[in-house]
C-alpha cells in the first residue's frame, strides 16, 4: 500500500523532471501498474466529466447524444492500442521496455491532462467567451505537455535517441491504424463465416 501511494506521488516528480523521472520509473522501480491503472481510470473519468459538465459556453457536445460507454471505450481502446502497437514495434527495434513498462510510462505521461483539465471544467463555468482564450491556452498547454512527456517517456524507457523516438512515435501511430484495420477486417470475416455456417445449418434443417 505504501509503495502504491509512493508511486502515485512519484507522478508529480515525473511530470516536472521527465527524463530523470521516467528513468527512475523503470530502472529504480518507482512506478507501479496499479498507479498506472489509476491514472488511466482517472483519465476516463476526466474525459466523460469534461464532455458532460463543461460550461455551456465551451461545450459544443450534444448532451442527449453523449454515451458514457462509448467514451470509456474510446479512451481505454486508445490506451491499449498505443501500448500494444508500441510494444510490437519496440521489441523489433531493440527497445528495452517490456509491456509493463510501456503501460506505466504511457499512463504517467497523461498526468498533465488530469491536473489541468479537471480544474478547467470548473473554471469554464465562471468565465465568458472573451476570457475563453485562457481556457484554450491552458488546454493546449496540457496537450503539449502530455505529448512531450510521452516522447520523453519513450526515449527513457527504451533507451532511444530523440530522432529514433520521433520515428517510433510515427510508426506507432501507423501501427495503431493497421491494428484497427485488421481488427475490423477480422470481425467482418468472422461475421461472414458465422452467417455462412448459419445458412448451411438452416438449409440442412429445413431440407
Amino acid at each position: 500500500m505504501q509503495k502504491y501511494l509512493d508511486s502515485l506521488l512519484f507522478g508529480f516528480h515525473v511530470i516536472f523532471h521527465p527524463f530523470d523521472g521516467f528513468w527512475d520509473l523503470k530502472r529504480e522501480k518507482r512506478g507501479t501498474l496499479k498507479a498506472a491503472l489509476t491514472f488511466i481510470v482517472l483519465t476516463i473519468c476526466m474525459y466523460t466529466i469534461e464532455k458532460q459538465n463543461t460550461g455551456f459556453l465551451f461545450n459544443t457536445n450534444r448532451l442527449e447524444e453523449v454515451n458514457v460507454f462509448v467514451d470509456i471505450i474510446t479512451v481505454g481502446l486508445m490506451f491499449v492500442l498505443w501500448c500494444v502497437s508500441n510494444w510490437c514495434l519496440t521489441s523489433l527495434m531493440d527497445g528495452e521496455g517490456r509491456m509493463r513498462d510501456i503501460a506505466i510510462y504511457t499512463a504517467y505521461a497523461v498526468i498533465p491532462l488530469l491536473i489541468i483539465q479537471f480544474p478547467l471544467v470548473g473554471v469554464s463555468h465562471f468565465i465568458t467567451l472573451e476570457e475563453g482564450t485562457f481556457y484554450y491556452v491552458f488546454r493546449n498547454i496540457s496537450y503539449i505537455w502530455a505529448l512531450a512527456l510521452l516522447l520523453a517517456g519513450m526515449s527513457q524507457t527504451h533507451q532511444y535517441s530523440m530522432k529514433k523516438t520521433l520515428f517510433t512515435t510515427l510508426l506507432t501511430l501507423l501501427g495503431m491504424m493497421i491494428i484497427t484495420f485488421i481488427a475490423l477486417l477480422f470481425f467482418s470475416v468472422l461475421n461472414q463465416i458465422f452467417v455462412f455456417v448459419l445458412s448451411v445449418y438452416k438449409e440442412i434443417r429445413f431440407r
Binding site: 455551456f56 465568458t128 467567451l129
Partner: protein, 490 residues
Amino acid sequence: MTSRISLWPKYIITAIMAAVFCLISIKANASTMPYVAYSYDWWGDPVPEPSPYLYGATIDKGRIGQALNNPQDLFEKNGKLYIADTDNNRILIVTSEGDYVSEISDGLMAPKGVFVTDEEHIYVADSGNERILEYDDQLKLIRDIPRPVTNLIGADKAYIPTRLVVDKAGRIYTIAYGINMGLLELDPDGNFQGFMGAARVNVSPWEYIWKNYFSTSAQKQRMETIVPTEYSNIFLDDEGFIYASISNLSNEDHIQGKDALRRLNPTGTDVLRRLGNFPVTGDLYKYYDGAEWSEFVDVAATDYGCYFALDRAGGKVFGYDGDGNLLFVFGAKGSRQGMFSSASSLVLSDDQTRLYVLDSQLGAIQTFEITDYGRNLLGALKSHYYGDSQGADRQWEKVLSYNSQSEEACIGLGKTRLRNGDYKAAMKYFKLGNCRKYYSKAFWFYRKEYMQKNFARYILLIIIPCGIAAAVTIIRRLRKWVGEVKCKNI
C-alpha cells in the same frame, strides 16, 4: 343481457369520438400543405416548424382569361401585378387577385424583366430586341434605351438585358445575359456608366498552383475557366440597396458553403450581414440521392431587413432575417397546389401578408397567405428592427407558443431580458436558443452583479480563516516568548 347494456355507453362514446376526430381532421385538412416547413437548428439539423405561409390561390389562365407562356418575371406595385409573359411577347397587368387589367405588347420580343417605379412608370427589359423600354402610367411608350455604347462589351457579343431595377435617382441597373462583369449601370439618360458589383473571384492557392504550374495546356483547356459568377436576379430594397441572387454555384461552392446572395450598396460592395450559424446558401445538404443544391433565382426583401429567396431546383422559399439567420423554408417540387415545377420569380406584397410565386413552366402565379405564426415571426423581427422591444417580446412569446423549438424566438426573448437587466432569465433563453455570443454577454453582467452583491461575503470567507490563523500564530509566538523570558528569569 347486463353485459350488453353496459356496452352501450362505450359505443356511444366511440361514436362521438369518431365524429369529433372527423371534424378535427376536416378542419386540419383545410390548412394542410403537401410538405412541412422547416428550419435549421444550431447543429444544422432540419427542425420542422409551423407553416409561415399557406397556399391561397392560383392565378392562371382560368382567372386571367389569357394563358401565360413561359413567364419569367413578376412585379407588384400599388395592388397591381406586372407579368413579363415572355413567350407571348407581352407584359401583362392584372390585379392582385388576378383579374385582367391591360397589357403591353406592341413591338416587344421575349421580354424577360419588368420593373415599375413609384410613379408607375414601367421599365421593360425587351430582351429579344436588345433594348430597354420605358412606359408611363398610361402605358404610353416614352423612350427606347438601346444597346449601351461602350467597348467594354465586345461588338460580337449580344446584349440581352434580362432583369432590371431602377433606383430613386433614375439610374438603371440591369443583368445582361452572358456578361459576367457585374450589373450594367446606366445613368438616368440611358448612357452607359459602368459595371457594378462584380463578384470577386476567389482562387484557392492550391488551385492556382495546379492550374499554372502542373497542368498541361490540354488539361487547361478542359478545365473550367475561373470567372465571376453571374447574377440570376436583382431586387431593389427601400434603402436603395440591391439584393442580387446567384444561381450557378458549383457543387464545390455549395460544399464549401459559399453565399448565393449578395446585398450591394450603391458603390457595388457586398454588405449582406452574415451573422447566422450558416451561410446564406439555401439547403445545407442534399437530403436524398439525386437531390439538387438550392438555386436562387429571385429574392425579395422587406423594409426591416428580412429577405426571401426563391430556389428553383428544390421549389422552395427560404426566409432569412437581417442578420442572415434562416427563419423558415417551405415549398417543394411538384404539381400539387402550393408546389412549384419551375419557379421563376417571387414577389412580396407591401405588408408581407401575401407572397406571389411565378412559375414559368406551369404558367401560373401561386399566392401564399401569411399565417398567424408567420405574422408574429415577421412582426417580432419588425418590432425589433424599429426598436419596439415590448412589442417584439409579445410576438416572440406567441412564436414560441406555436413553435417551442424556435431558437430565433428564444434569442429574441433573451435580448429583451438582457436589455431590461434580467440577466438570469436572459441566460436561460440564450441557452435555449443556443446562442453563445449573447449568453456570454448576459453572463458577464450576471457575474458582475453577483460579485457586487456577494463580494463582502466571500472576502469574509477569506479574511476570517486568515485572521484566525494569524491570531493563533501570534498567540503561540507570544507564549513561546513569555516562556523564554520566564526561563531566562529563572
